[in-house]
Symmetry: C2
Subunit: 225 residues, 2 copies
Amino acid sequence: MSESRKLETIPVETRILSENDRLAEENRAWFNRQGIFVVNLISSPGSGKTSLLVETLKALKGKLSCAVIEGDQQTDLDARRIAETGCPVRQVNTGQACHLDASLIKRAVNELAVSGLDVLFIENVGNLICPAEFDLGEHAKVVLMSVAEGEEKPLKYPLIFHLSSAVVLTKIDLLPHLRVDLQQAERNIHKVNPKAVILRTSTYTGEGLQDWLDWLSTQKSQLPL
Amino acid sequence: MSESRKLETIPVETRILSENDRLAEENRAWFNRQGIFVVNLISSPGSGKTSLLVETLKALKGKLSCAVIEGDQQTDLDARRIAETGCPVRQVNTGQACHLDASLIKRAVNELAVSGLDVLFIENVGNLICPAEFDLGEHAKVVLMSVAEGEEKPLKYPLIFHLSSAVVLTKIDLLPHLRVDLQQAERNIHKVNPKAVILRTSTYTGEGLQDWLDWLSTQKSQLPL
């Protein structure tokens, strides 16, 4: 990295992150007052965040009042998939930006204008790096990792695995067709985050989805809302 | 995005990108003088960049003199896999940064200190967003997309697909086990980049690897070196 870049960006990034943290705390205080449990879903592109969300929303229908904020650089493809479940959804296109931030969430929540919410899911931009640094005011970060991505992602992108309350392993139906050592993947997760809850799931077979719903329910019940 | 962020970051980013572009042109001029063909490989985490590289280096052994620069936030796992092929490799850990830049490449090339190179492969940090904006001085960007990632990535992350000379579809051996429409994926690629060469590959079965090697060879031969 060039010297000029170091000199210029570090103070600016520090200011941005500190301003973001302040807004994130405002968001969290507001979510707490409203009794809304907020989950920030983060993963590589194509790990299956939207598919997990669609199945989750179908399962929670009539039980909990949910809404979704969809973050993508471009398109409203994911928001359309969510809308088909009947769940209120707001698409946020970040353009060149590689992550959502607390101010984008504040605006999207205002625009959603849904009252009586129980759970707000935020689907972040598909990226294991930049979203890790930006607190949105959520109660829990959840990182998804498709088993087709291999065993080493937790070691290569440790921050997001370190910060996440749960790691959802997706597409486990593919395991018989992959040269992937699932136990090694799980050991790698626990190396960077010994407390992480690991959930093995497949939206294709439905395996593990009940465990994921139970985890959500327990997390929500433990909040000081 | 907050107003304060807009005001602060845009001029800084413009300066960084313009300084990066200047260094990238210096790199490219140097690569041209040395007769080195340089490929910048970009994809989501876990799409199979290192696996493709390992198979490529094995196939080119004794035919072309190759070297690799490995970009990762953390770990030297990929560099160790490359080193096992006998190919010179330099690991660059970017720490918090989500992409390589031209100055990191300049330094890594100096440290590699390999003479008589034919091809330099740069494996960028696993990220479809940030690496797209940083010219490294390469002759061709190649984006990899695992078919397990679904059809929509080119529409959601259009910049990198727009800028790439070739799109390597990886893990096509998984197709029978996926609900993925490959033709739709390819239509989406051509929507954002009508000229993109699309290569279907599997390092597991070896399918398509010869097409990829042929593409590399043609590209190298067409350069004004």
